[in-house]
Every structure is written in C-alpha cells, then in structure tokens.
Amino acid sequence: MLKISERKQGDILVLGLEGRLDASTSSTLETRLSGSIASGQIKIVLDFSSLDYISSAGLRVLLMGAKRTKNASGKLALAGLKSHVREVFDIAGFSSILSIFSSPDEATNSF
C-alpha cells in the first residue's frame, strides 16, 4: 500500500508518501513523478516521514526522478527518512547521490 498526498509550496511540489514503496507500488509514484516532471514541475520534495519500507523497485524510481529533475536544472529532495529506510539508502549508496534533509521544511528551503 502506498498513499501519495500532494501540496504546493511556492513553485515546489511536495509529495507525502505513506506506506510502502516496493515492487507493487513503485509504479504509482513513477507515474506521478514522470507526469509532474514532463509538465515542467522540476522542483520536487518527497516527504518520507510516513514511509515504512523501500526496496530496489522504489530506489529505481527515485534514481529516475533525481536524474530527470537534474537534467532539467531542477532537483528532487527527500525528507524525513525513518532509520530503516535510511539504512537501505546507505547500503545502496544512495545517501551520497540524493539530496536528503531531516524535515520537509529544510528540504523546501534548500531550493
């Protein structure tokens, strides 16, 4: 299960993720991200505060989002990772290539 909530803060899109970002749910986020980026929304924050689980299927979507926003001179920032989600990022070496902040506010202020 993955629930995605959405709000705008200035020209930044903040997507709140709740539940699990795995093989069965990652396509939902992929569709949402791809659509937003294609329509020119290239400043995006993903709020992970309520995300309980991530697998490589989820990491793949984040990689896609980070690459595409960067290519368009934007950014994909992540915020509020729980420790066990952070652990997966660390193992995969994603902590060093993605912009990660402790809170959504900190992430939105980074643009």
Partner: protein, 143 residues
Amino acid sequence: MNLDMIEQVFPANVEEVPVVVEHVSGLAELAGVHPKRIMHLELAVEEAVMNICSYAYEKPPGTVTVRVSSEDDRLTVQLIDEGVPFDPLSLEEPDIKAALEDRKIGGLGVLLIRRVMDEVHYQRKDGLNILTMAMLMNQQPEQ
C-alpha cells in the same frame, strides 16, 4: 519457537510478490524474529522473488516454492524455481560510489540481499535453482 519446515508454492508473477513477502513475514513473526530484522527479511524476499519472476522463466509464469524453517536463533528461507539456470550471486555488484548520472539500478537487489541477510547461497540441483537465505533472528547483520 522453532518452525518445522513450511513449504508453499506460489505463481512466479510480479503481482504475487507482496503475497510471498507477507507469507514469509508472518512466519518469521511467529518464529520470533525481531521486528527490525523482519524488515530485512521482507526486503531480501522481495528482491529475490522479483528476480525469479523477472528472469527465471522463458515461458512465464512458472512457480516459486517457498520453504521457511527456524531452529534456535536461525531462520532459513529457501526459494526454489524450475527456471533457466540463474545464479543471482554471480552478478557483479553495482558501483555504489558512481555519480548520479552514471548510477545503474541493476544488481542493487542482490546487493541488498547480501547485506541484510547473514548467509546467502545458491545451488543448481536436479534442474532447480535453489536460493537459500538465512538470518540470526535477533542480531544485526555485520555491515
């Protein structure tokens, strides 16, 4: 508690992956696996079953047989398929130090499996791919 070996067969298709994960996770809870380690187990099972669903069968869907057992502090999960010979552990580990632009996603699943489980090995036997993954239930894997 110790679990005698419990075997269940699932269709090897992607839609079934969460069902397999939940199945193993439920048994692990029953066996007394620490909650934090349950997440590790779910991750390893998801990655391994996804691999089987994606690569094992030339004419999908085949099946994946899941065996779970525990003894003392050790939980073992075996995933068995009848697909083409495929040793996921033979894959080269991805370069996790590459820059964003050069980063590839392939091989990440197997890397995660190796890191979160305490033991992983592969065997090809009697036309079967057998992936065995084990964890000590109340300990962190060595990083």
